[in-house]
């Protein structure tokens, strides 16, 4: 499997003055996958990307690219290209000149440049835009120019730094689909940075959740969503109810004042744990039929469902999503199936 990994980060650490931005990062990126670095601002995801691009030097650790350490290789010699957050299109050049820049610098012949630029503009449906000034383009068009300006160099790895953050919601959704399509078509490795968990789940083959300069969890989007490794991941990916509890034995967990059946095994006997229950996994039933009883607090209409808070006697305020409306102040019962309880071992500290 080793030769399949195009990038290996080994014990990567980055320090700005006294501030540790990346704390011993170990990560491998498979060839041709769509990998997303996901985390809140300041988690180190952008720094990781900038180190990969060559704009920052790691304080220690290795960056292996095809097995070779590239820490000392300057950006213009790396077979990696970047799509910048604010596009960074050259304002004094038109669309054609922007896209052609990488090839022109490499002294590719004019005829070949023309063919390849046309092909690239084709890829993102911008035929006929060659002579347009870049500031006359819409945000989405600029974004697509920025993507093909990087892709025309046929990079082994394309880095994307929150490229969609400047676009409005509708356009962002369209571009997510488009990016995925482009990635499939050109077959390069994409490393994508975002703080938007939905974006990460939609597009990625692998999601890397980062927080405080460390990797919290690496996995397929489904795994990261369904089996968060710790409370941070559970909270950051989607909305969650996170409760303190105890793992009594295999498939038995205690929280919210009672014992539940779950599917987790092998965490030990009678150990403290954090329990995650997704709001959409809680069923509202008649008070007498519920495993838990509580009083409905606020109710908000969210389009597809209602989102409400339910206060249980132990003092925990649950977040519950339901397609039926329950008025505030009602006493309700709540049921949680064994599959829907995610138990996470409590980490020391």
């Amino acid at each position: 499997m080793q030769e399949q990994n195009i990038i290996n980060l080994v014990n990567l650490t980055k320090q700005f003055d006294d501030h540790i931005v990346l704390d011993n990062i170990n990560l491998f990126v498979r060839k041709n996958e769509f990998l997303t670095l996901l985390g809140p601002s300041g988690c180190g995801k952008t720094t990781t990307l900038r180190i990969l691009a060559g704009f920052e030097q790691p304080t220690s650790g290795k960056i292996l690219f095809d097995g070779q350490d590239i820490a000392q290789v300057p950006p213009h010699r790396r077979r990696i290209n970047t799509v910048f957050q604010k596009h960074a299109l050259f304002p004094h050049m038109n669309v054609f000149e922007n896209v052609a820049f990488g090839l022109a610098v490499k002294k590719v012949s004019k005829a070949e440049i023309k063919i390849r630029v046309e092909k690239m503009l084709d890829l993102v449906n911008l035929q006929g835009f060659e002579t347009r000034a870049v500031d006359s383009l819409s945000g989405g068009q600029q974004q697509r120019v920025a993507i093909v300006r990087a892709l025309i160099n046929e990079p082994e790895v394309l880095l994307l730094d929150e490229p969609l953050s400047a676009l409005d919601l509708k356009l962002r959704k369209d571009m997510q689909v488009e990016l995925k399509r482009i990635q499939k078509r050109v077959g390069s490795t994409f490393i994508y940075v975002t703080h938007d968990q939905e974006e990460a789940l939609t597009m990625s083959d692998t999601v890397v959740v980062m927080h405080g300069g460390r990797i919290q969890q690496v996995g397929r989007p489904e795994d990261v969503y369904n089996e968060p490794k710790n409370p941070f991941v559970a909270d950051f990916i989607g909305e969650s109810n996170i409760l303190p509890g105890r793992m009594l034995q295999d498939e038995r967990v205690y929280f919210a004042g009672r014992e539940f059946v779950c599917v987790d095994r092998g965490l030990g006997e009678d150990v403290p744990a954090d329990i995650v229950v997704r709001p959409e996994d809680i069923r509202i039933v008649a008070p007498a039929d519920g495993m838990l009883q509580g009083t409905v607090g606020s109710v908000t209409f969210k389009g597809v469902h209602y989102e409400m808070t339910v206060m249980t006697p132990d003092g925990y305020e649950w977040l519950v999503q339901s397609t039926t409306m329950t008025p505030s102040g009602t006493l309700v019962g709540m049921n949680i199936g064994p599959d829907e309880i995610h138990v996470m071992k409590r980490v020391a500290g």
Partner: protein, 273 residues
Amino acid sequence: MGRRWLVYPYHTWMLLFTVIPLGLIFFYAFTEPNSTQFTLENIRHAAEPVYLGVLWHSVWLAGLSTLLCFLIGYPMAMILAKSSVKYRNMLVVLIVIPMWMNFLLRTYAWMTLLEKNGPLNAILLHFGLPAIQILYTDYAVMLGMVYNFLPFMILPIYSVLMKMDQSLLEAAEDLGAGTWTSFRRITFPLSLPGVYAGMIMVFMPAVTTFVISRLLGGGQYMLIGNVIEEQFLAIGNWSFGSALSVLMMAIILVSMLFLSRYSKEGNGGGMFF
């Protein structure tokens, strides 16, 4: 709506100190001395070869000085823009400080420095080199122009370079451009508005100066500024002085249009050539 009066002070200022004086210059240029009779005689007189020669010499010297200012100022502006914050402010102050001193004093200081038995020749003699006579030559005048007007070239370029989006340079580097290529294809073209502003701010005062040429060029030395000054102050022929001014303005305007055409085309390498 009620805020319109805020522009009146500006309008009044422009009227009093720009429009009316300009109108008077044109009035004097196209009338006979001491009468209101329209004439083209002053302009014809001003266009005589002897005066055109002086005018050409002024434009040539000012142009060369502007080019020198650009060649010295651009690297300095880049050094300023690239240096660290606390160091940078100190450097900017060092460039601006000479401007706090009186222009005449600074120019007189150069007279002392360059004179026959001055420090420059003392140093040359000390190293066994022959003394040189720079004072009262073209070189001294150009030195004075470059020395006095260099900050006007550095500051606009510096401010454009400072505002430049660093991610553009990163993008260029990312796309395979080395340091020189990204300077040639990104930094320099994008800094042209600053270069253009700097050139105007140096060329304008340089082409009209009469103090620098008077002091460093010696009495015999004539630039168009000296001729005009003489017509107004010594000879008292306001009509001819105005005609020379109009001619000079026309030539400056033409050269500026030339310059702006170049800067818009984006191949800013040439200035007048």
